[in-house]
């Protein structure tokens, strides 16, 4: 266990149990649930775990606030979509998409970092906001390439298509399941890689920069280079998550990859899960995506049940239309009661 975890175990029994359950459910999801929606939700959880973990490298470990993370996510998504749309549903097209998108994301992160990470981090946050907005506009304007507001739907290689079926040891495996496991395995690998990076000497320097950049410099570390490298790694990882998202949806458009609401999702996941913990990304993404997808249904159920029981006020309070209000209240409560995030709380009370 220690090897893949890079010497950074969960350090809390409750957290360990929660993580094992989450990972087991995600790993067995295609066999546990029927229908399309549960698998869409679990796939989104996998992708958001990788995406939030890459953001935690920046926000939680390096102490750098960036609003351009969805831009890198979008670069990965569009990389796959444009390549598959243009070159056809072949593995080679996916490889081309990745070999363009990942270095492009890293290079863009490098340029932004060179221009703005030398100075105060608040300036960096503003620059990322501006660049990300400009990129989103650019993506919707270049419709000959990106499909504009409609985005790009594309076909995937045959083994990943829903219609593909194969029998393995008596189990009926569909192309959708294979796609899911591709997403699951890549997200797991991305997460473990990021966990490894934050627990390396390089990762420790990032934490030192977050804690006291002045002292990190006095110890001989070139803090600007470390910050820029962290930014590039986070960007490439976000692009990889974006590519997986595109592959899963077989579609990329502004709403699924570049929207600012995704940026807020990532930010909330990392804060709710626990900044600077990596494991917070797993817990946070799971709770957040579940709430996003099932809170409305849960409230509908509560509202109807309360209505049938003749309770006053409760049915209208839990009316499904108010689900965003309740989602907001849940976030405020979680940040208020767990300022160090869920993982921080669990580790503190071990």
């Amino acid at each position: 266990m220690i090897m893949p975890l890079s010497g950074d175990p969960p350090r809390s029994r409750c957290l360990s149990i929660a993580l094992v359950i989450i990972v087991l459910v995600l790993a067995l999801a295609p066999f546990l649930f029927g229908g399309a929606k549960p698998l869409n939700v679990t796939a989104k959880i996998c992708i958001f775990i990788a995406l939030a973990a890459s953001y935690d490298l920046l926000l939680g470990y390096t102490g750098v606030v960036s609003f351009a993370h969805t831009m890198f996510y979008g670069i990965g998504s569009y990389g796959i979509a444009i390549a598959m749309y243009g070159l056809g549903p072949r593995w080679g097209a996916a490889a081309v998409g990745l070999t363009v998108a990942l270095p492009l994301a890293a290079a863009l992160a490098l340029v932004i970092g060179l221009f703005s990470l030398r100075v105060q981090t608040i300036f960096f946050a503003m620059i990322t906001l501006a660049v990300a907005s400009a990129f989103a506009v650019l993506a919707s304007q270049l419709s000959w390439l990106t499909g504009g507001e409609d985005g790009r739907s594309f076909s995937v290689p045959e083994v990943l298509r829903p219609g593909f079926r194969v029998d393995v040891l008596g189990l009926n495996i569909t192309g959708r399941m294979l796609t899911y496991y591709l997403v699951f395995a890549c997200c797991a690998a991305l997460f473990l890689l990021l966990l490894r990076i934050v627990n390396s000497p390089f990762g420790r320097v990032l934490q030192a920069i977050r804690e006291n950049p002045f002292r990190a410099e006095a110890l001989g570390f070139r803090t600007v280079i470390h910050r820029i490298l962290a930014n590039c790694i986070a960007a490439a990882a976000a692009a990889a998550a974006g590519a997986l998202n595109a592959l899963w949806l077989r579609y990329t458009g502004p709403d699924t990859s570049l929207s600012f609401s995704i940026m807020l999702d990532i930010l909330l996941i990392v804060v709710i899960g626990g900044m600077g913990t990596m494991y917070g990304a797993i817990v946070g993404a799971t709770l957040y995506v579940l709430a996003q997808n099932y809170l409305q249904a849960l409230m509908g159920w509560v509202s109807t049940a309360a209505g049938e029981a003749g309770l006053p006020l409760v049915p209208s309070l839990f009316h499904p239309d108010r689900w965003l209000l309740w989602l907001g209240i849940l976030f405020i409560a979680s940040v208020y009661f767990f300022p160090a995030g869920i993982v921080g709380k669990l580790r503190g009370s071990r």
Binding site: R196, S200, P201, R204, N212, E217, A218, L219, F221
Partner: protein, 256 residues
């Protein structure tokens, strides 16, 4: 063995109209502990900042051996061999005591960008950090966050970071400030131990005259940014210019 000496030539820094350090020329030799004394506001810490690179001189130069390091950044000077312990404790509060020291150890070992080998597998570096912790008597608190240490222990950790850097030049800025009486000897013993290695140059800013008397081979006195006295401890302390500049105005500063 490579023996490096440190020298400042006409080192000056101006903040607007105020000249904080004014044309200080002084050479520091290996195997020598030089105490830098002077009243509050004399420019001692500013002089340190000019040497270790937190400030860049308006004019004049800093030489490390034959190398002009006047324009180097603070990290570059640290890598060149200048170690600094700060007057105001300057640690990584949320990281553990061991992690604080390991950061200095990895810097000294040149491990800056290793991303793929987890820390726990750098056994040799971990052992080095543990040895430093034992030297400052903090090995019992290695897993506590630095922010949880008492003030005295934080001062020791501050010194431990510099020792772990294995520099050629050690710069102590009031290492015992605010320490309780029974903790002071740990730090003084440590400095005395470092003195044993005659290839190292030690600079010490200190207010406590008994500390200066027991450790210093040489004293320089700064007053209003100028170097006003330089020599053996007994001689410098007896000189009238020091009585006036240091003890006199220091006494008045205290009373005011």
């Amino acid at each position: 063995m490579l023996v490096t000496s440190l020298e400042t030539r006409n080192l000056t820094i101006r903040f607007g109209g105020h000249v904080a350090v004014d044309g200080v020329s002084c050479a520091f030799r290996p195997g020598e502990l030089t105490a830098i004394v002077g009243p509050n506001g004399a420019g001692k810490t500013t002089y340190f900042n000019l040497i270790s690179g937190q400030l860049t001189a308006t004019s004049g130069a800093v030489f490390l051996g034959e190398r002009d390091i006047t324009r180097l950044s603070a990290p570059a000077r640290t890598r060149a061999g200048i170690g600094r312990a700060f007057q105001l404790t300057n640690l990584f509060p949320a990281l553990s005591v061991a992690e604080n020291v390991r950061l200095a150890v990895q810097s000294a070992a040149g491990v800056h960008y290793d991303m793929l080998r987890p820390w726990m597998r750098h056994r040799e570096l971990i052992a080095r950090a543990d040895a430093v912790l034992a030297r400052v008597a903090l090995d019992g608190k290695r897993d506590a966050p630095a922010s949880a240490l008492s003030h005295g222990d934080q001062r020791k950790l501050e010194v431990a970071l510099m020792i772990a850097l294995e520099p050629q030049i050690f710069m102590f800025d009031e290492p015992t400030a605010g320490m309780s009486v029974d903790e002071v000897p740990v730090v003084l013993d440590l400095i005395a131990q470092l003195k044993q290695d005659t290839s190292k140059t030690i600079l010490l800013v200190e207010h406590k005259m008994d500390v200066v008397r027991s450790l210093a081979d040489r004293i320089i006195v700064l007053h209003n940014g100028k170097l006003v006295a330089d020599g053996a401890p007994a001689e410098v302390m007896a000189s009238p210019v020091v009585q006036e500049a240091y003890l006199g105005s220091f006494g008045r500063g205290r009373a005011a």
